[in-house]
């Protein structure tokens, strides 16, 4: 499990979707959660950077856990997710500042995401508000964007949640570039006008 955290954490940093100490990840095993340590560097995770705590209730380890432990716990309690990746991708953040939902125009994003809802909160990091709001949206979509902050992606495996994160940032980059062009974007996807209703 540590190897998974290490390789995906490093990839997140190298992809430029987190800062040196940003983002967090977790997996669920039975009634336990394994989450990255608060303030850990995801590109340099060691054994002591993975914190084990309860799914149903807190224990002393929560003092070490990521700031977002409450959000992760709420998501696990409300969904079938077994892994969560939370990152701070720049293009996704830019898109979320101007949109209530993000609909991909690229092929990969269209296949995998169709549409990503954007939600807003007054306190965006580790807040009860986010913990109450996100699980309901993640019951509908495997990736939800928190405006100005970053996406929460869920999966059965850490790699799945990471893939969605990676595809989403690329989608947002393509969108941002496309929207900056003066030429009209030519539609190539049958039925794409319905993606917003996905």
């Amino acid at each position: 499990m540590l190897e998974q955290f290490q390789s995906i954490g490093r990839d997140l940093f190298l992809a430029g979707v987190i800062s040196s100490h940003g983002g967090n990840m977790s997996v669920r095993m039975g009634d336990r959660i394994f989450i990255t340590r608060r303030g850990s560097m995801l590109a340099r995770l060691g054994e002591r950077d993975i914190v084990e705590t309860g799914l149903g209730e807190n224990d002393a380890n929560v003092t070490l856990a990521s700031t977002e432990i409450g959000v992760h716990r709420a998501i696990y309690q409300a969904t079938s997710a077994l892994a969560i990746v939370h990152s701070h991708p720049p293009y996704a953040i830019v898109q979320s500042l101007v949109k209530d939902e993000i609909v991909p125009v690229d092929s990969e994003g269209s296949y995998l995401l169709h549409k990503v809802p954007v939600v807003a909160a007054e306190l965006t990091a580790g807040s009860r508000e986010v913990a109450e709001m996100l699980p309901a949206r993640l019951a509908e979509y495997d990736l939800v964007m928190l405006r100005g902050h970053g996406p929460f992606a869920i999966g059965h495996l850490l790699e799945e949640a990471y893939q969605l994160t990676s595809v989403f940032e690329l989608t947002c980059k393509i969108l941002t570039i496309a929207e900056g062009m003066t030429a009209e974007v030519k539609e190539y996807r049958k039925g794409s006008e319905q993606y917003g209703s996905w």
């Binding site: 499990m1 997996v27 669920r28 095993m29 039975g30 009634d31 409300a78 969904t79 079938s80 077994l82 296949y111 169709h114 993640l138 019951a139 509908e140 979509y141 495997d142 999966g155 059965h156 495996l157 790699e159 799945e160 893939q163 049958k190 039925g191 319905q194 209703s197 996905w198």
Partner: protein, 621 residues
Amino acid sequence: MTSRASVLPPLRGLRLDLSAQTQSQEELPAAVAHEVLGGRGLGAWLLLRERVFAADALGPENSLVFAPGPLTGTGAPASGRYSVSTRSPLTGTLFDGNSGGAWGSALRRLGYDYLVVAGACAARSYVFVGSQGVEWRPAGELWGADVPASLARLRDLHPRCEAAVIGPAGERGVLFASIVNNRGRSLGRGGLGAVMGAKNLKALVLAGDGGHRPPVADAERLKFVVYEAEKLLKSNPITSQALPEFGTAVLVNVLNQAGAFPTRNFRASQFEGAEAISGEALRKGYVQRRSACRGCGIGCARRTTAGGESGDGPEYESIWALGADCGVADLTAIVQAGYACNRAGMDTITMGATIACAMELTEEGLLAGGPRFGDARAVVEMTQATAAGEGLGEELGQGSARLAARYGRHELSMSVKGLELPAYDPRGMKGQGLAYATSSRGGCHLRANMLGPEILGVPKMIDRFATLGKAGLLINMQNLNAVLDSLSLCKFTGFAMKEDYYARLLSAVWGEPMEPQELLRIGERIWNLERLFNLAAGFGRADDTLPARLLHEPVAAGPARGQVVDLPPMLDEYYVSRGWDDAGVPAAAKLAALGLADAISVADLDMGRGAKAGVPAAGAA
């Protein structure tokens, strides 16, 4: 149970009382569809409510529930399916088979969401259901006819009908007799055909077009989601190339190379003759054409010829059971043995696995004059003898667990809860061991198959030899498959599609919001209903296990060399993740959360502890 506001119509059912030769129409509130969808879920719901766990599986008090799902016949991909649920005479568990073809669509076109068969006919009969009502007919010359002849005769008698029949095996009480429909598809496992046979019921025949269209609330929306789903199916190499090109037999070489291809009754996990019985060999020498169930674009089925005969199949599991598991590399003999099973209406997996068990008993000196590993002719002859109920075939017809027990070596039956394991050696894919042990219908790959993540990398590749950390993934898979069997959709769509697609298909058909997570919750509810039934039928933690060979005998050679399944810690993780106690009983809080607090009485649960009455026992040696 849960309830929610709905515009859904009630579920409309037809109940046939074979004992009284009467029929009645009934309705269930739409809330039941919200709770368990249809198909397998509805079968579990009805049979638990009617306390079939206390029934003699071969007695008139057992019932059969035939149920398509809400997506059957709607145009959703690979949706021409239906389930049949009952208490299995082979395992004693709740059991359902799921089949393609067009029988399920025909039932919906008659305006029914399910059909319950209760009681037993006094004389050999078949039943015809048309838009004008139910006709009770004597079976006459149909009784004794094999499956193809029965289907042909019924089609003469009722042009354009859809029929589900049993063959001589079901009539004779072979405990793994199947039900077959006239699109060549079987409800193969668990002895559903034996239950029909015990009821003196040869066939259930439906008028081909009852005039009702399965309701679709938002046809435009459905069209869009189907289009999106088919894009995935057409671009995925498993659903667009491997299965259409080679059929399921494509897995022979894949599993053999992985060292997870059980050989000679699981004494090895690689077969030296795999190439000769592979999907590639089948395509080259035997396949006439491919075929597909109604509404399916994958087309995994095969029409073949061998030794002057022609017929359907064999599928991967049949090739394995009648081939590698018996040490046989003669593909012609395997195909012919498969035809014999199809004609008689028998499950090829249990047939082959039981012959393999007999072969090991013979080699151990316990079964004088029995078949030996590698004897292709013996596989064909034993299959025919079982169908005819002749000689050793009479004993083989009771399945491997009773056969092995009869000769004092129960551990040589490679089965879980009495159902023979299929073609994946869990020592080479440990998660599959947990899947077998916890399957609600016994040794089965269709409740959940870790082939995806452990071998094919779907959705992602995981370490197949790892023990812990797989319970959650398996549970999600079990829950999702319960949903697919209840919608009813083919599981092969799952190689390309995820739960969000299924949720959106159902949402379009029902005209109501349906979240993917809610769908998985429904799957979890169905799984727990099945668990409650099985607990009341006498199954518990001690039954959630594997044959001793897989727990204690390391694989001798190949990629899985040295591996056994370390089951106890996996089972502990599984129970915790399920919200069950150490004995495998769902906790009260879990049942309450799923709306199942009143699904079964404490007395019924207590009744099941340690007792498995109501199924045929092994005969004395």
